[in-house]
């Protein structure tokens, strides 16, 4: 395949940045999208041009480090995959591909396609945990049976990889899907109940403070979420938030 890549280049957080054009040929359909960028970067290095900076690590869709806004979609055209799992067979010979960073006020660009998502960490620090000491002096793991359905639903929520595609896809840059996934995981498990109220209040407040927008139920986040985190989590969090506020 021969492709034309339009890639966002930005020297650092204060630089204005712009789209640059790079032609690339000999792209195999079996390559992953990031392998295609590796090939481009090797070519650029040989020509003495600085390679394109992008985040990635596991390259199997689990660490949440890769991002990229590809042709107007977070993680590109395929569904239920991250950018690192996207393969070139989803594109056609001659295509022009626009590659931009995830954009949101709470995710400032660091360089080229790399953004700063530490706001997500700060939301988790505000309450995304169960306050139990790690000493090992806890009760036996089987002492509280948990209905399989609850355990499975909690697990599904817990599979969020913290990539930020939900924010990048939302016209309001809302982080509701991400935050609700964590809140749901704990609220569905007996271990998370004790602090449930505080947790939801603190995490939601932190989310607002970090500059994420409001949720207007467009559902764009669910469509682009590589892990299929469901909008049900948002409803669950809204319920928790309301009842926590009432009881405050």
């Amino acid at each position: 395949m021969k492709l034309t890549l339009k890639i966002w280049r930005q020297k650092n957080s204060t630089d204005k940045g712009s789209l640059e054009t790079y032609p690339i040929s000999d792209v195999s359909e079996h390559m992953s999208f990031l392998e295609m960028l590796d090939v481009l970067n090797e070519e650029l290095i040989e020509k003495g041009i600085e390679p394109v900076a992008f985040d990635h690590d596991c390259r199997e869709g689990i660490c949440g480090m890769c991002s990229l806004y590809i042709n107007g979609e977070a993680h590109g055209p395929d569904r239920r995959v991250t950018t690192c799992q996207l393969h070139m067979r989803k594109f056609n010979d001659g295509d022009t591909i626009f590659i931009e960073p995830f954009r949101a006020n709470a995710f400032p660009v660091v360089k080229d396609l790399v953004v700063d998502r530490s706001s997500f960490d700060r939301i988790q620090q505000a309450g995304g945990f169960v306050s139990v000491n790690t000493s090992g002096n806890t009760q036996d793991a089987n002492s509280i049976p948990i209905p399989k359905d609850d355990a499975d639903t909690a697990f599904d929520a817990a599979t969020c990889i913290g990539c930020g595609a939900c924010v990048a896809s939302c016209k309001n840059s809302s982080a509701m899907l991400f935050v609700s996934a964590k809140v749901s995981q704990f609220s569905l498990l007996p271990q998370g109940q004790v602090e449930a109220k505080e947790r939801v209040l603190n995490m939601v407040n932190k989310m607002d403070e970090e500059g994420f927008g409001n949720c207007t139920n467009t559902g764009a986040c669910e469509v682009e979420c590589p892990k299929g985190i469901s909008l049900d989590n948002i409803s669950r969090m809204n319920r928790e938030f309301l009842s926590a506020n009432i009881k405050k």
Partner: protein
């Protein structure tokens, strides 16, 4: 030759840890507030250690190269974590987990450490459940288990194919709680580039801020390395792209002995490579061998037809399939340990029976399991168990519920539906049993410098059993190090904070600056990846699944030449004072180019086959690994002496008092 002191306490094996814990010095809570500990790494080992040390009251400074601690490579672990809970009532016990691990490691690990690991394994599960880790449960609401290779019980706890993710997020949440309290200062996007020793003790590190390029000094009373394994020395592996040996290697150069570098695990079930552009390999979890059967065709004609695309795997008749693991190892069948399964796959492919274009793939087939589960479901639902369509559909649903994310991953990469056609798999580099030498306290040969998790060598001998790395990482971090480190730090309660304004810090920082300048100013003609790929090829061809004396000697020579070429001709674009991913890679590859040489030397010195280390010269008639217990029942701990291959060998003799050392048989 100097003897290493493992510091294993006296007493009965089963009492050692408890008695030892009771006897070690403690630091009182008020004093802990005046003591700083640096932890490099936020995987299961570093994450759990950071959280626990902070909770105990120490001031913790933690580092990782990713943009968040939650992204450490542990996140990618799939299949599960072992613990001797015996919830299934199938005869499991601490002793059995200990026994399986020592045997699985081909009698090359330290008994006392392994026993302790087995002992604390049960706490891990309790701890994680209390943290809200959503492990898989059965319909009664209790925890479910599966089996992994090399054992005859079901002791593996799991969260679908995302066990590592769930456990790491548990440790990350425990860290977050301490970060919020200010007890952990987290340094994301920072890379440790050297350790600083003051009066022979580890007192700090030099780190590069990967966003600004700034070189920073950080001091502490003790330094813990939890930087993971070095599988990426092969270029292609199942490790994350950034996994590296830099932290471990830098401390080696400052005096920490490096143990058994040649013990690497080649995992039997990974997706085969597809082209030169390949950047990494993807694991298909060992848990799949619970339900998948491995085979190649019996007839060469079928192999040819498969490769030409004129025949489909599903059309090969049952009697024309060679389920070679079931044939060779009837007792363990598809669940033999990884080293055995990998070599068996290589044997069939070398004999010409590989099923894909490259000849390097075998089948992992789920059709029997789908039928078995489907019939069971049909019966349960009162439907016709002879209705093939229905049985297949019901069976596929069960398989999906167990391995859904793995099947999806496979389909996305290979573009084939594994519910309909067998998966193609081939062995790939996965884990490194070797690592920094540590004593019973998990301290390296440098006082105050610790190594935990995959970065150390401690528990898995020459072959790790599946689902035991997660167990070790969390055992080290939650339950072992936080105790043992107190023994050392109790001497430091009056030291006061360590200044970074000292000649030792100056020198370490200067060295780091020099190295980075050299890389940036080199302006050669080949990229970092060019060298990394070349190194990977030498390693795979000569230090891979089968090793020979001649090959290893060549490898040492070739790696040395490649390293010289690297320093003459590598090009690193951009500058030092900015985010520069090529510069990060260059530093890591420079270290791999040294480690690789020591690796080959270690493999050359070990004139026997054991676990993952297979020397063709030392094999039984049936092609199994042949140990030489008389001459090689020791840990090779290497002391740095200038050039990697000039390293000096120290031996820690291994004594087995509680297990009879036998030939390892899975037949």
């Amino acid at each position: 030759m100097a003897k290493l002191n493992s510091g294993v306490p006296k007493g009965e094996l089963k009492d050692k840890w408890t008695q030892y814990k009771d006897s070690i010095d403690l630091v009182n809570p008020a004093n802990k507030r005046n003591i700083d500990v640096i932890v490099v790494g936020t995987g299961l080992a570093g994450g759990s250690a950071s959280a626990t040390l902070a909770e105990l009251g120490y001031n913790v400074k933690t580092f990782c190269y990713q943009d968040s601690p939650r992204r450490a490579h542990s996140i990618a672990a799939q299949g599960g974590i072992n613990a001797a809970k015996n919830y299934q009532g199938d005869g499991d016990s601490t002793y059995r987990l200990f026994y399986d691990t020592v045997k699985g490691g081909d009698y090359r690990s330290r008994e006392a450490n392994v026993y302790r690991l087995a002992e604390v394994s049960t706490n891990i599960i309790d701890q994680c459940v209390a943290q809200g880790v959503p492990f898989a449960r059965d319909y009664g609401g209790l925890l479910d288990n599966r089996s992994f290779g090399g054992v005859l019980v079901s002791r593996t706890f799991y969260a679908k194919g995302q066990t590592g993710q769930q456990l790491l997020l548990g440790a990350y949440s425990a860290m977050n709680r301490q970060i919020a309290r200010g007890k952990i200062k987290m340094h994301n996007r920072h890379e440790m580039l050297d350790v600083v020793l003051v009066d022979g003790k580890a007192r700090g590190i030099i780190a590069r801020n990967l966003v600004t390029g700034e070189i920073e000094r950080h001091s502490a009373h003790a330094v813990v390395i939890a930087s993971g394994g070095y599988g990426n020395v092969y270029f292609l592996s199942t490790n994350a792209m950034g996994s590296n040996t830099t932290a471990a290697w830098k401390i080696h150069k400052k005096g920490a002995f490096f143990a058994n570098p040649c013990y690497t695990q080649i995992h039997p079930t990974c997706i085969p490579r597809s082209g030169d552009y390949q950047s990494k390999l993807t694991l298909m979890s060992e848990s799949l061998r619970n339900d998948g059967r491995i085979w190649v065709p019996k007839n060469m004609d079928d192999v040819k037809a498969l490769r030409e695309g004129t025949l489909k795997a599903t059309n090969i008749k049952e009697e024309d399939r060679d389920y070679y693991l079931e044939r060779r190892y009837p007792a363990f069948g598809n669940l033999v340990p990884r080293d055995v399964a990998s070599r068996a796959a290589k044997e069939r492919c070398d004999a010409g029976y590989g099923v894909n274009q490259t000849g390097e793939a075998v089948y992992l087939d789920f059709s029997s399991a789908i039928t078995r589960y489907g019939k069971e479901q049909a019966l349960l639902k009162g439907e016709d168990e002879n209705n093939h369509q229905l049985v297949k559909k019901l069976g596929q649903e069960i398989v999906k519920s167990k391995y859904g994310n793995l099947f999806q991953m496979y389909e996305k990469i290979v573009d084939e539906n594994p519910y309909e056609t067998p998966m193609m798999i081939y062995p790939a580099v996965h884990y490194t049993m070797g690592g920094v030498w540590v004593d019973y306290n998990l301290m390296t040969t440098v006082p105050g410098l610790y190594a935990i998790g995959e970065a150390n060598f401690s528990d898995h001998g020459s072959n790790r059993l599946g689902a035991s790395a997660l167990m070790q990482g969390l055992a080290d971090g939650y339950f072992v190090l936080p105790y043992t480190i107190g023994d050392y730090l109790s001497d430091d309660i009056r030291t006061g904070s360590i200044s970074t304004d000292s000649p030792e810090f100056d020198e370490a920082e200067n060295n780091v600056n020099k190295l980075l300048d050299q890389l940036i100013n080199n302006k050669g003609k080949h990229s970092v990846d060019y060298y990394h790929k070349k190194l990977g090829k030498i390693m795979w061809d000569k230090c891979g699944m089968a090793r020979t004396e001649t090959g290893l000697k060549q490898a040492i020579k070739e790696i040395k030449e490649l390293r010289e070429d690297f320093w003459k001709n590598v090009i690193v674009p951009g500058n030092r004072n900015e985010l520069n991913k090529e510069l990060e890679k260059a530093g890591r590859v420079a270290d791999f180019l040294e480690l690789g040489e020591l690796f080959a030397k270690d493999a050359l010195t070990r004139n026997e086959s054991c676990g993952g280390h297979f020397r063709e010269e030392y094999a039984t008639k049936e092609g199994e690994a042949k140990r030489d217990d008389k001459n090689f029942t020791f840990v090779s701990a290497w002391e740095y002496a200038g050039e990697p291959s000039e390293a000096k060998l120290h031996k820690e003799e291994l004594e087995f008092e509680n297990i009879a050392v036998k030939e390892r048989s899975y037949k």
